[in-house]
Amino acid sequence: MKKILSLLLALVMAFALVACGNNTSNTGNTGNTGNTGNTGDTGDTTGTSEVPDSIKIGVMGTMTGEQALDGENIQAAIALVQQELEEAGGLQVGDKLVQVEFVFGDTEAKPEQAVNVMQRLINQEGVVAVVGPNNSSDCLAAFEISQAAGIPAITNCGTNVQVTQIGDYCFRSCFIDSFQGQVMAQYAVEEFGAQTAAVLYNNGDAYSTGLQEAFVAAFEELGGTIVANEAFAGTDVKDYSAQLTTIMNSDPDVFFLPNQNNMVPMIVQQARTMGIDCQLLGCDSWDYDFLPELIGVDLCAGTVYTSGYSNGIETAQDFYNAFVELNDFEPGFPSAMTYEATWIVLNAIQTAQSVDGAAIRDAMAATDMDLPTGHFTFDEDRNPIKACAIVEYDENGQRVYVTSVEPS
C-alpha cells in the first residue's frame, strides 16, 4: 500500500512537472521572468514611456578574493560617476532629473557567485542595467541570466571573445584578447625586430590562456618563432624558476607575460634576477600605478604593455584629474573601463528616455560618444571599436604612453 501510494505521489509530481514545469523552464528562455521589478516595463518600447524618478544600476565586481584589487578600482570609478551625477543634480533624461543609485554585488571571482549576484540585482533590486562583472569567467556565467531576463549588461574588463557572443544584451567596454595579443605581437616584430619569443602563462586562467593563444598565433603568422611556451598552474605557484630556466636557455628576443597583476611582480623579479634581460611584454592587467614599485623600478624599466587605456591619452586628462582628486590614487585600466561602461549605460538611458531593457539595449548598440579613451562606437558584435594603447614603464617607474594602434 505504502509503495503504491508513493508511486501515485510520484506520478502526481510528474504531472505537476508537465503543468508547472513548462512555465519554470520557460522563464529561462523567453525573458519573461514575471517580476523584473521594473516600473514602467509594460512592453511599451516606443521610448517615450515615463522614466521613474530614481533608477538603480547594478555594479558587479570582485570586491573580495584574489582579485579584490580590481573591485577597489571599480568602486573608485563608480564613486567618480556618482560625484559627477551629484554635481548635475541627477541624470538628465529628457526634461527631468533622474536619481541614479548604484547597487554593488561581490562576485568573489567565482562564476557561481556571479550568477547569484546577477539574479539578485535583476530580480531583487530591480536594476535597469548592469555594469560588470570584471572577469571573463564570471561574465560567461552571469550573462546567461541577464540575457534571459532582457537586461543589458556591459562588462568592463571581460576581454574574452565569447563573452559578448552569449546574446544581444551583452556588451563590453574593453577590447578583446585576440586584438590585444595581435597588437602586442605586431609591435614586438615591428618595433623590436623580434624573431623569437617566449611566453609564460597561467593554464588555469581563461584570460591568460586566451591572450597566450592570440599572441602565439599572431607572432607565428608574422614569421616569428615561439621558442618557449611555458605554463604554470593557478595562483598558488609563486616560484617560476623551472619555467624561467627553460626560457633563459632558449634565449628569446622578447618575453611575453600575459598574467594577472598579482603574479607579474614575482615573475619579472625572478626572471631579471636569473639573468633574462630581453625585452618584456605585458598586457592590460599591468596598468596599475603601484605595479612598477612592486616589481622594482629598475627591474621593469623599458617594459612595454598593451592597455585599453592610458593616463597619457590626450582625451583622458579630465577624467584623470577628477579621479586622482577624488580617490588619491591614479586610475588604471579597470577603473577607466568601469567609468566608460557606466557612462555608456547612462548615456543610453538618456538617449532612449526609457528604462526598458530593449530600449536601453538598442540605444547602447548605437552608442556614439566621447569617452576618456576617445570616440566610442560598438561594432555589430557589441564589441567596442577602439584603439589599443601601448604603454611603457620608464626608468622612474612612471607609465608613459607610447602610441595607439587602431584596429584594422
Binding site: 604554470f232 593557478g234 598558488d236 605557484v237 623551472a242 619555467q243 630556466t245 597583476n261 603601484f290
Partner: protein
C-alpha cells in the same frame, strides 16, 4: 647535467620555504592532532606586522641585519601571542570534540582574518612590497646560481629544526609536549598542565609561521591578504609526506616537495600541477605513514 644541478638548487630553495611552514603545521598536529587551516594566516599577519613596523619606524631607509632580526622577532612574538589567543577562543572549547571540528573552526578563523585584513581600510586589497630585510645577491658556483637570501632561508630552516629538536627532546617542556602528544589524559593525571603546553605549542607554531612568512616574503616580495591561502596547502602536504608530527620529517618533506615540483615543472610545465599531486599520492601509497613516520598500531 648543469641544468639539472641548477634546477636541484632551485628546488631546495623553494623547499626551504615549505619546510619552515611545515614545521609549524607538524608541531601543532603532533600535540593536539589538529590540522590548523589558519596556520597560513599567521604567516600573512606576520608579514603585515613586520611591514608596518618597518614602514612606521624606519621609513624607506635600509635596515641592518641585526635590526631586521629584532623586528622579525618582535613581530613574530606578537603573532605568537595572537596564535595563543585564537587557540583560547576558537579551539579550546572544541578540545573534547573530534579533531576535525577544530579544523572546521580553523577554516572559520581563516575566512574571518583574511577578509578582515582586506576590509580594514589601512590594509586593503592592494598588494604591498615587503621591505628588503636581507640584501639579496646572486652567488655563482661553477655553473650554478644561488641566491643569498635563499641560502639564509635554508640555513634558518635547518637551525630552527635543530633548536626545536633540542627543545622537544632535551627540555622539560619538550618532555611535557611529548607526553601530551602521546596521551593527553594520562599526562594530565601525571601533573602536566595541558593548557600551558598547548598554549606554548601554539605560540611556537604561530611564531614560526610569522618567521617563515618574513623569509618567504624576502624572496617573493609581494604581500596581500590572500597571499598564503594555497601556500599553506603545499606546506601541509609537505608535513604529511615527511610523516606528520615529526619535525625532521617536516623539513625532509618540504625539500622533497620543492625539488619534485621544480623538476616536474621543468619537464612538462603544462601538467606539472597535477603531476605533483600524483607524486604525493604515490609516496603516501607506498609509505602510508610518510617518509619518516612510524607505523602506528591501533588498539581496540
Amino acid at each position: 647535467m648543469e641544468n639539472f644541478l641548477q634546477l636541484l638548487v632551485y628546488g631546495l630553495q623553494l623547499g626551504s620555504v615549505y619546510a619552515l611552514l611545515a614545521i609549524g603545521y607538524t608541531m601543532v598536529f603532533g600535540i593536539i592532532k589538529m590540522i590548523n587551516m589558519a596556520h597560513c594566516d599567521f604567516l600573512m599577519m606576520g608579514c603585515y606586522i613586520v611591514f608596518f613596523m618597518v614602514s612606521i619606524f624606519f621609513g624607506d631607509q635600509m635596515i641592518g641585519p641585526a635590526v631586521a632580526l629584532l623586528v622579525v622577532l618582535v613581530g613574530s612574538s606578537i603573532i605568537g601571542g595572537v596564535g595563543v589567543g585564537i587557540e583560547r577562543i576558537a579551539y579550546k572549547p572544541l578540545r573534547n570534540r573530534p579533531t576535525i571540528m577544530c579544523m572546521i573552526s580553523a577554516i572559520g578563523v581563516s575566512t574571518f582574518t583574511q577578509n578582515l585584513f582586506r576590509a580594514l581600510p589601512f590594509i586593503g586589497p592592494t598588494p604591498r612590497s615587503f621591505p628588503k630585510l636581507i640584501q639579496d645577491f646572486t652567488i655563482t658556483v661553477g655553473p650554478v646560481q644561488i641566491s643569498f637570501a635563499r641560502i639564509v632561508t635554508v640555513a634558518i630552516a635547518i637551525v630552527i629544526m635543530l633548536i626545536l629538536w633540542f627543545v622537544v627532546q632535551r627540555t622539560k617542556i619538550g618532555m611535557h609536549m611529548r607526553a601530551v602528544s602521546n596521551d593527553k589524559d594520562a599526562s594530565s593525571l601525571m601533573g602536566v598542565n595541558i593548557n600551558r603546553v598547548i598554549s606554548i605549542t601554539f605560540f611556537i607554531g604561530a611564531f614560526l609561521a610569522a618567521v617563515s612568512g618574513c623569509l618567504y616574503a624576502t624572496s617573493y616580495t609581494v604581500i596581500q591578504p590572500t597571499m598564503a591561502t594555497t601556500l599553506g596547502n603545499k606546506a601541509f602536504i609537505a608535513a604529511v609526506v615527511g610523516g606528520i608530527g615529526d619535525i625532521r620529517g617536516a623539513v625532509l618533506g618540504g625539500f622533497v616537495i620543492g625539488v619534485v615540483e621544480i623538476l616536474v615543472t621543468s619537464v612538462w610545465s603544462d601538467l606539472a600541477y597535477g603531476f605533483l599531486f600524483l607524486v604525493l599520492v604515490i609516496i603516501l601509497l607506498l609509505k602510508p605513514e610518510g617518509l619518516l613516520g612510524k607505523p602506528m598500531t591501533e588498539k581496540v
